[in-house]
Every structure is written in C-alpha cells, then in structure tokens.
Symmetry: C3
Subunit: 153 residues, 3 copies
C-alpha cells in the first residue's frame, strides 16, 4: 500500500473565506504515486471545513450569507429575526464566556463538515465535472492547518 | 490491496427524490472480493447527496419538507416566514443570475453531505439494523452520476 | 494491509449527550498496529452522530440548544417561533405516525453527520490541537452501537 501525507497552512485576510485546493490535492496524489485509492482532506481546526462544490463566486456569497442566518455570529448584528432567534438564549453563546467570539464558526464547521474523502482512479481525483474542493475558513486571520492523506496502490 | 470502482447513473422523474442503493453498494463490494475494508459512496454532482438513514417514507417526506424550510428554493413560494427569511436578501440567490434555479440544491448538498464511507467486515457492509443507503437528488430530471469505490483486502 | 474492527456500545442516561471517544479510537489504532492509514468512526444508528470538535461544555450546551431550534423535537414545546415553524405542517413529524417520537433525532443525524474518517500518521491520530472526537447521542437511554474500522500499514 502506498501512503502519502501533506499539510497545508492557511492565513486568510478575511475572517471567512473559501480557498480552492483541488489542484493541491491532485498534486499530493501525484506525489504519492497511487493509481487507485482514496484521499482524505481534513481541516485540523474546529472552526473550518472542507466542501466539494461549484467554483462560482455568487454561490459562495449565497452560502456565506445563508450560513450566517442559520448559524449566526454574535460579533455582529443578526442578519434578521430568524438569525436572532437561532442565537442562544438570552443572546450570546456560552462558549464566549471564556473570551472567545467564534461560537458560530463551530456550528458552521458542523454544518459544512470538516472533511471529505475523494476517490482516486487511474491516478486522478475521480470528480464530477463541476466538483471543486474548497477549504472553508470561518474564523481566519491566523494560521490554520489542513491535512491531506493519500492511501492507495 | 483490492480495489474496485463502479458508477451509477440516476435520472429521477421528480426534481427531488431519495433512491435506495444499499444493495447496489453491497454488489460492488461482492465484485471487489474485499472481505475487510471501506467503500466510499460519493455523488459526482453538486446538487445531490448520500444519506444513511431509515427506509421509511414518512421520514423522507419530513426530511424534504424540512430541507425546503432550512434551504428554501426560490422557484416556488417559500414554505413559511422562516423559509422566506433564510433566502438571500433581497429575495433570490446570486447563483441564479446566470440563469440557474437550483441554488437551494447546493445548500441541500451541503446539509446532507455528498458522501459516506461504509465499513466492510467479512465481505458485508457493516451497517446497523436500520441503516440504509440513499442517493438524495435535489435537482433531478436529468442524468446524474455517483461513484462507488471499494478498497480492502 | 492491516485492518482492525472494534465496536462500542453506549447507553446514555440522558436522551441527548456528547461522549468523548478520542482515546478509544486511539486504542483501536494501537491494537491494529497501523502506522499509516485511516480510521473510520461511524455510528450504527440513525439517530446518533460523530463530531470532531472542542471538548468544551459551554460549546456543547450551545450546540444542543441550536440543534433543537434548527431540528426541533415535537416531544416538548418548541424553543421559539423559528423552531415551531421548522416543524412539519401541521405540527408533528409524519415519522411519528407509527408511534415513534424521535423524528428530530434523524434530522440531527443529518446535520452532524453519522461518521468521520481520521488520518493516522506514525501510529497516532493526526488531529489538530483542539480536535476531540465525540459520539453524539440524540435518542439515548437504550443500547446503541458504533463501529471503529482501522485500515493501514
């Protein structure tokens, strides 16, 4: 069995960001020499995620707006009444009692999921035509890591 | 290491549908000859998903209704005020500016997740008694693919 | 290829609970003898999940409150108007027609996802500093199982 491990580090300018990493994952597969197998792509932080979807800026803006409504941050005014009511009673996350302000980012990690496993066939990521891989940052502006683990033959 | 890859194609009559594929995944495991390992079941589209849950029609109807409230489509009247407020401001997805109408299906892909990895033990999918595997279509009525990748010994 | 399978059984006192299992998963990796590979940690029930996040009680309380708002139970009064509107029309889950009362727990399984795959590097779970692994129970007080499947070299 062949295996290969790589780490990527992100330090985004914005608090929230989508970073395309499809080509980085393919490169790790290339280095591994695996023709058949699987590659795990997993955020090593609890306020980040990995999503396979369309590389379309409008969709990403939609998704960030929607995530802010379903898992609202308390470091800014809630987007609307629904977002306000989805915040904890009576108004702020318990997680913030220790001085944190990223409670919403943990819930966004839950919604998007922190990892994906991608199939490798004949040495290539076996993705559909519109599937791109994104690192999803929900509490950036500091150094955060992701692991890529290839396993195959 | 043994590996085996199969593709399934779906073309559902309805825009949204759950299609049971447990037996198809087991068949792919049978063909692979793997007694111990893992099988990845992954939608190759960005408006579909894979869910492991109960094969119970009432639950599936509940889930589609709930998904429409949390990730509302804009091609029909919102189910209620919550659904209306979870749509983007001022009312439609940015993703639709190019002529698409499936913005909600991308968010449903996010919620349900596009893939699962199932354990294989003694040649069988090692599932609990109520676990069935479903392809979840959120923008059907056209040809869509799924990949099954078995890896084991 | 080395592989190893373990099962864990949970019978929580409370209906909902987070149970830390990081050390149990590491133990299974130790027994397997795998230095490089992946380990699948997967609930065998359709009303439970696995989450990798912070071992912080305030965050867990926030998460349970939020899950009850987004995927509301009908066996207690909805937490607020949003939760009430996210219930099915006209008020209870179709899934409950057979006598069940755990419709919300199926949706929480969907939100949190029932499984994770963790990387193994040099015989250790290759996790970030704050990543802990939790079994998430949403319909407990009865015996429920989880499978740990290690694959590696």
């Amino acid at each position: 069995m062949k295996s290969h491990t790589e780490y990527m580090t992100f330090n985004t300018d914005e608090r929230r960001a989508f970073v395309r990493i499809t080509e980085n994952v393919q490169s790790a597969v290339d280095v591994s020499g695996a023709a058949e197998g699987m590659v795990l792509v997993s955020a090593m932080h609890i306020t980040a995620a990995v999503w396979v979807n369309d590389d379309e800026p409008g969709l990403q803006e939609d998704t960030l707006e929607w995530l802010d409504k379903v898992a609202p941050p308390s470091w800014k005014e809630p987007a609307n009444e629904v977002a306000r009511e989805l915040l904890p009673d009576p108004g702020d996350y318990r997680h913030h009692r220790g001085g944190e302000d990223n409670g919403d980012a943990h819930l966004k990690n839950l919604l998007v999921h922190h990892q994906v496993v991608l199939p490798i066939t004949e040495g290539r990521l076996d993705l559909g035509p519109w599937q791109a891989v994104f690192y999803c940052e929900f509490d950036g502006r500091r150094s955060k890591r992701l692991v890529i683990k290839v396993m195959g033959d």
